[in-house]
């Protein structure tokens, strides 16, 4: 199963940010919001977070764990980790190509 970013439409970026946030271990919603805000300097609202979480869970990229004090942590699935690695590799290759081209055009 392979899920490309465009399938998430306008939630493509929030879903990517959530996958990155979960890449170092399970987190509940509030921890993800804090993590994403610290990393990007931008707020992510609870409505956006759960719209993205629902889509990721439906596609099997993340899975819920048993709740702790009403807060439910989520973790990456194996498919989610593979998907995230693919996306990040793609972004990295794109960035390297851009840097190469920039380097070539510089005097």
């Amino acid at each position: 199963m392979q899920t490309k970013l465009p399938e998430f439409g306008r939630l493509a970026e929030p879903t990517l940010l959530i996958l990155v946030s979960l890449s170092d271990g399970p987190k509940h919603g509030y921890a993800m919001m804090q993590d994403i805000e610290a990393g990007t300097g931008r707020p992510m609202g609870a409505g956006t977070l759960y719209a993205a979480l629902a889509r990721l869970e439906e596609r099997g990229l993340i899975e819920p764990l048993p709740p702790v004090d009403r807060r439910r942590p989520y973790q990456l699935t194996a498919v989610g980790a593979t998907n995230l690695a693919e996306q990040l590799r793609g972004l990295s290759e794109f960035a390297q190509m851009g840097l190469r081209q920039l380097g070539d055009s510089q005097p």
Partner: protein, 244 residues
């Protein structure tokens, strides 16, 4: 908290059955401001649309509140208010209703801007952020009633419009204060907005208000415009490098 419960109830029943408990717990973890409410309202709309389109080939792509929407609304609102001011000064020939429509649309856009750009401020000063949103919301409503009233009962309703507009200014001043205090967006722009929101009140007491009003309007509009630009710049996609 009642507001949190009311927000969760906006979502469809099946969504609440799955996510309701943890979503409520999340909302209880930090103060909910105008930004969060707008984002949750859009999230609930998205959940309802998805449910309706569950078997469709394409599901809705998602709708959410962001600094970018707030920033764009601030720029558009400031531009429309500037246009309304120019038209009402007779610099462009239009029908009598045009300045009023531009003015009201501009104020409504500033409300969207207030919600979209208040996320960080609401964490540090939730009450002030809410007052900064609620006061101009009431002011805009009163201003609209005044404008509609002027076309029905005549000049008598001008007072209603005038007080509605002053209330909207008070709200902008409060937003400027809370933004300056939290340094969430450009402090210089917040300062300009604050000056532009307070100066018109000096126009009520000085003998010649024409000395005060033009710079006040300029500061007010430029303040909103710059806050909008700063919000959009902050809301760069994560895949685009941030300025160093």
């Amino acid at each position: 908290m009642n507001l949190n419960r009311a927000l969760v109830r906006l979502y469809p029943t099946s969504w609440r059955a799955r996510y309701g408990e943890e979503f409520t717990a999340l909302l209880e973890e930090r103060p909910v401001g105008p930004f969060d409410v707008a984002d949750i309202v859009l999230g609930a709309m998205d959940a309802r649309l998805r449910l309706r389109n569950l078997h469709a080939a394409r599901e809705p792509g998602g709708i959410s509140m962001s600094l970018r929407i707030g920033g764009m609304a601030a720029i558009a609102g400031a531009a429309l208010l500037a246009l309304a001011a120019l038209v009402s000064m007779g610099l462009a020939e239009t029908s009598e209703a045009v300045p009023g429509i531009l003015f009201v649309t501009g104020l409504a856009l500033l409300l969207v801007a207030l919600a979209g750009m208040s996320a960080f401020q609401a964490r540090a000063h939730p009450r002030l952020a809410w007052v900064a949103f609620a006061v101009p919301a009431v002011g805009t409503l009163v201003s609209v009633l005044g404008l509609v009233g002027m076309s029905i009962v005549g000049e008598w309703a001008w007072t209603v419009w005038f007080f509605g507009t002053l209330t909207a200014l008070v709200g902008s001043a409060l937003f400027a204060v809370v933004t300056y205090r939290t340094a969430a967006l450009s402090r210089g722009a917040a300062l300009l907005l604050g000056v532009g929101s307070v100066l018109p009140f000096a126009g009520l007491v000085v003998p010649d208000s024409t000395i005060v009003l033009p710079p006040a309007i300029a500061c007010f509009l430029v303040g909103w415009f710059l806050l909008g630009v700063h919000a959009i710049r902050l809301d760069r996609p994560a895949t685009v490098a941030r300025p160093v």
